[in-house]
């Protein structure tokens, strides 16, 4: 109950930010929400299931183009965003059925290459996508301030949605099943888990809101081009964020997104010509000094209660999973 109140307070507070913030801060807030969506989504396949997916950019780019095309055809923005979610999820279902039997590096490479192939298809299909010239979206006929607020709130709503999804996964049967799969996939099948189905579901969930985020991003910046929305870094950043905060945890991705954005804004702005190298250094430092993320520092080696999870310590811990 306390946590519900706390959650509502945090979300309410975040929603009230536009009352005090200028457009620069709102832009940061929108980025933060978008990063949170990407990291939270990746955490489901990468953190809980332990599958090193580099497919985030594919879902993001696909969502961006799906939304942009539908908007270009005259559909209202929210419909375009919802459509983008569906497209990304459907694509993930197909792709997942095809490549989730791969393990380790093979899966990583396959998921990485998908974005490249989509990029190339998008670039070549000039009649539909505008190709390398990119695609312009309809301009919103509302003031700049109102736009900033609109996209901030929309992205925030998407971030909340992805958090709720992650929370449901973490405390539900599927989260438990994913943790089993991560630790020993053969044994997971032997205790009655439909591993193939569970992995595909996790992959779909990790794509759903990423597609939406891509479409929102497209609406937000009015113009997309293939190398922008299919960038490899769009796949890598959510991984770094999640590792930074703590993979396989509920709050890790959010904490990681906050830290990542702070670093991006402070360090990289100052050293423009070396920001890729700085990101590289952050990655190396992260892996050496924070292998379990920030939450790994504060969390005890394992929970005191017999079951891992976020059950309140006072009463009988009533859940099986999560390990928040």
């Amino acid at each position: 109950m306390i946590r519900l109140v706390l959650g509502v307070a945090v979300v309410g507070g975040a929603a009230a930010v536009p009352l005090v913030a200028d457009n620069y801060l709102l832009r940061l807030g929108t980025m933060l929400a978008m990063y949170a969506v990407l990291a939270q989504s990746w955490n489901i396949i990468g953190g809980y299931a332990g599958y090193p997916s580099f497919a985030t950019a594919a879902f993001f780019g696909l969502g961006a183009y799906a939304g942009a095309l539908l908007q270009g055809a005259g559909a209202p923005m929210p419909l375009a965003w919802a459509f983008a979610c569906v497209v990304a999820a459907a694509f993930a279902a197909l792709l997942g059925s095809a490549i989730l039997h791969l393990k380790g590096h093979y899966f990583a490479i396959a998921s990485l290459v998908v974005a490249e192939v989509l990029l190339e298809i998008t670039t070549s299909w000039t009649s539909l996508t505008g190709g390398g010239m990119g695609l312009n979206l309809p301009i919103l006929r509302i003031p700049v301030d109102a736009q900033a607020r609109l996209f901030y709130w929309s992205m925030l709503a998407l971030a909340v949605a992805s958090f709720v999804m992650a929370w449901l996964v973490a405390r539900g049967r599927i989260g438990f099943a994913l943790r089993c799969i991560k630790q020993n996939e053969d044994a997971a099948a032997m205790v009655g888990i439909d591993t193939t189905f569970t992995k595909v579901v996790a992959f779909v969930l990790s794509a759903l809101f990423v597609g939406g985020a891509g479409a929102m991003y497209a609406s937000w910046v009015f113009y997309i081009e293939p190398p922008d929305v299919y960038a490899v870094l769009t796949s890598v950043k959510p991984i770094v964020m999640t590792l930074l905060g703590g993979a396989g945890t509920l709050f890790g991705p959010i904490i990681g997104a906050v830290l990542f954005l702070i670093m991006e804004e402070t360090v990289w702005r100052t050293f423009l010509s070396v920001h890729a190298a700085v990101l590289g250094l952050i990655i190396v430092a992260l892996i050496f000094f924070l292998p379990h993320g920030v939450l790994g520092l504060v969390k005890r080696r394992r929970p005191a209660a017999p079951t891992a999870g976020h059950g309140s310590a006072g009463q009988e811990p009533a859940n099986r999973g999560g390990g928040a």
């Binding site: 990583a108 490479i109 490249e116 192939v117 910046v221 960038a231």
Partner: protein, 338 residues
Amino acid sequence: MKGSPLAQGVGHRAGRASLTRPLCGHPLPEGEGSDAASNRSFLVLPGPTPMLYAQILLNGLLLGGLYACIAVGFSLVWGVLNVINILHGSFVVLGSYIAYFAHVHWGLHPFLSIFLSGGVLFVVGYAVQRGVINRVIAAPVLTTLVLTFGLDLIVNNGMLLAFTADYRTVRLEHPLGSQIIGGLVVPLDRLAAMGLAVALTVLLFFTLARSKIGRAIVAVRMDAQAAALMGVDVPRIYAVTFGIGALMAGAAGSLLSLVFPISPLNGTEFLGIAFVVCVLGGLGSISGAIVGGFALGAIQSFGALWIGPEHGLTIAFALLLLLLVVKPTGIMGRKGYE
């Protein structure tokens, strides 16, 4: 103006953005007119179709030997250390730069600078493995992937600062030119580069099969724990293996400087080539790398003809995806280094 928020903080975006910029689409400028067999000119060659196909196949094979050399070190590291070395593409580019500067300053022919670039990169690779990668060698796949990606960002950014993104080319004073052999245009420098690349790859094969250190590498690949029990210094072998992987990349880079323009932006492309060749030929076998390299070269050449030169690597990637889905062990099946 908010511009493009996602792209902010994306360093050399053009380079990172796409692995698929076609290298075979823009070969060396044909300044001297001697390099008559570049991809664009053969497309307009008159003559019967079988000859055209033969020419395209030849061009593909000329590329393929170099591809094999690029991929074999990557494959070795993957097989022995179970690490996908994202740095590999940058190692190749570094080798090309060494060849370029050795040529500009000392007049050293790229065929000779393979020793220099290979040697330098062996040291670099050995040090990187010993100092950095070895510390997470037992970590999950994701960790080593992300770590080498981070290292690649650093190295690539460093090269951009040092050398800029401009394309540079090695222009030989005495190019061998081309010869018409049996109706086919054979660019002799490329032929020699391909021959050297294959020779290096075969040399690596015999090194692994015959030398003491090679036997130790093979033993570690089979079973690192057992090898350790038999007195093999496994961390040292890991570092040597990584060094050899970098050496092959550097030597390949030297040879490639004759064929492709040099820029840090090419790193991702070479990495992509290494991926595809490895999966095509099957991980961890040298013969697989050779077969995979030639297969990729041929596929790209014909893909360039039928679908368009800018789609060369995309076709390869699509094929790679298909192959991963259907037969992850590669067309050669899984084999050891024997």
